[in-house]
Symmetry: C2
Subunit: 373 residues, 2 copies
């Protein structure tokens, strides 16, 4: 059984991460994704880490795609591109606003010449508004989009979220627009344009932080601590750290027993959530004094057995050894590495071939033959 | 022009954040989302902040939905629910694995009685694997999914990403599965089951961190610093902080000039990227010594005018005053608050009514009349 997007053809003009991440997941779901690269290839073909002569970085975000290198300023290559456009259902691009127009494939041209094509665009600040021309990288938008102001140590400086959250998140916001437009078009409606900005995406992911600020309770950086419930935090162990989230009385009592201090439930400093919040530094020190004596694995097993909500702070090596992720086909082999699989589990859908990224221009001859260009 | 998902009916059994976030965006795109709540309502109806007698938190993630309260263990309410199931295209749930089966609406029952229904399930660890029954909250999965090990100060403890990244991200991974299954079903194919786990979702958002670990270069917490390029970091100003990302020679020269230290380009400590990486603490101190003299707004304007990639670290009040976000309809009025709008911009699609969340059971009479139940 092939993927649910079998028969859907996506022309992918995107580079580096946000766009390629979006189109990779469309390929995982069965879409045919043709990556149209500039003659020098996607910049990320030069990103570390490497595997043999290739970029493992590139391979990890371009599995399941075909590649053709086209110079969109050269007439012969434009003719090929336009043959592809005639068959494509979707075109995805993450050029800076205005570049597509300069190439002669702006929204108005596409709507006139290829009216059934769904155009999907990713950019830093969007195609509209006063900042539309401003430079955008993931880190800059993590700063401008507010999440860095909320991330880091209490009293310390703003910290970056430890992954390219904005690139990945904005690529994820493009999916429903593209697919909803496809649903509608299968019902006979005309194609829509879809447009997502990195900044908008970051702001849409802030949960209730803007509301808290407006309610007079502006959120602060708190490390791993929760502002209104205790204990909810990360605690150091002998070899790492473990998160506890046990403000409920029965959970706190169970945690105190596991830690060998059942008397804490009657200690005036820790007797209820309000007391623990008022004495959270003392409580953290008391918990860590015990937890530093044993390993994360010990505490994880002990708390879990006692029904206490907990989770070890796992690093990359821990993830790579996780039986759950293995059982879920979330660690897939790729040219000497294991990389993240497809988290969208659909009945009848096989895990993707993680090692199926194309070399630059690999599919030129086949595509020229197929599309008569 | 209505949304692209007009005519699509979603039965939404989800609670709190991950599921409601997913279905809110489906409603923003025009789907009809009927929220089936337990008699006491979604737990998040009691979450702060509040507005009048209602939870602003609940309202912010449930706009555009209808509500009916049903006790799925009571025969009369089950009959109503089953009338809804007969018409629905999609059912979304985030119960713990096994609960849906206990209610008598597990995947096998649904596939037999309502074969065109697309079932979409969200859970902490997934419906399969050894950890499927383990407790999952956003913070626990931030820990177990690896992102906390990468987030925080250099040499400090693991920090939480300053938003509920896992809840929101897993809700986002459900979209393409649901919509791809809808695309396929419109083409005549049978319905699929869609299933997403919070843990899988977190791991799929780690960019190249697992690969780096396997390449012998395991990523570390670095605050806001970039490991292989300098200067790329957040720098304190008189009233906040600003990110600079200017390792390229021409950008570093421009930044040094803006800071009044054009001689830095010839300083042996800072002469090239390798030197700056070796002396990054000295460089950071030198930059901050200057930047602490003036405001973030001053430096943002000065660096931007000089073509230096930069971004102010903005807090929630800054976002609420941003003309770009206003121009993008990303700050929408809701009962005395402004909340994040819909980042999925489609041609012909109006911004959602942010104040359109339902009261508990608001649509019971209308739904009973419409579905003859």
């Amino acid at each position: 059984m092939s993927g649910p997007l079998a028969g859907v053809m996506v022309l992918d003009l995107t580079r580096v991460l946000s766009g390629p991440y979006c189109t990779m997941m469309l390929a995982d779901l069965g879409a045919r994704v043709i990556k149209v690269e500039p003659p020098g290839g996607d910049d990320s073909r030069h990103f570390p880490p490497r595997t043999g002569g290739d970029s493992a970085y590139f391979m990890a975000f371009n599995r399941g795609k075909e590649s053709i290198a086209l110079d969109l300023t050269a007439p012969a290559d434009r003719a090929i591109f336009e043959r592809l456009l005639t068959t494509a259902d979707v075109m995805v691009e993450n050029f800076r606003p205005g570049v597509l127009d300069k190439l002669g494939y702006g929204p108005a041209v596409l709507a006139e010449r290829w009216p059934t094509l769904i155009l999907a665009s990713l950019s830093g600040f969007g195609q509209t508004g006063p900042d539309r021309g401003r430079m955008a990288y993931d880190l800059l938008i993590q700063a401008m989009g507010g999440v860095m102001s909320l991330t880091g140590e209490e009293g310390g400086g703003p910290a970056r979220v430890g992954t390219s959250l904005v690139d990945i998140g904005s690529g994820m916001f493009l999916w429903p627009g593209i697919l909803a437009a496809l649903v509608e078009r299968r019902g006979g409606a005309p194609a829509r344009r879809v447009e997502v900005a990195m900044l908008d995406s970051q702001v849409a992911m802030l949960e209730h932080a803007m509301m808290r600020a407006q309610a007079g309770d502006p959120p602060q950086r708190l490390g791993a601590r929760f502002p209104t419930a205790s204990p909810v935090d990360a605690y150091r162990t002998a070899d790492g750290a473990l998160v506890l989230a046990c403000p409920m009385p029965r959970h706190f009592a169970a945690a105190a027993a596991v830690l060998g201090h059942p008397e804490w439930v009657d200690d005036p400093r820790f007797v209820d959530n309000a007391a623990r919040l008022a004495n959270q530094a003392a409580l953290k020190a008391a918990i860590e004094a015990v937890m530093r004596e044993r390993t994360t694995a010990h505490w994880d097993a002990a708390f879990a057995a006692a029904g206490v909500p907990c989770g070890p702070v796992r690093n990359m090596a821990d993830l790579l050894a996780d039986p759950q992720l293995t059982a879920r086909e979330m660690l897939l082999p790729m040219a000497g590495f294991r990389v993240a699989g497809n988290p969208m589990k659909l009945s009848g859908l096989a895990a993707p071939d993680a090692a199926s990224a194309p070399t630059l221009d690999q599919h030129r001859a086949a595509l020229l033959a197929e599309f008569g260009a």
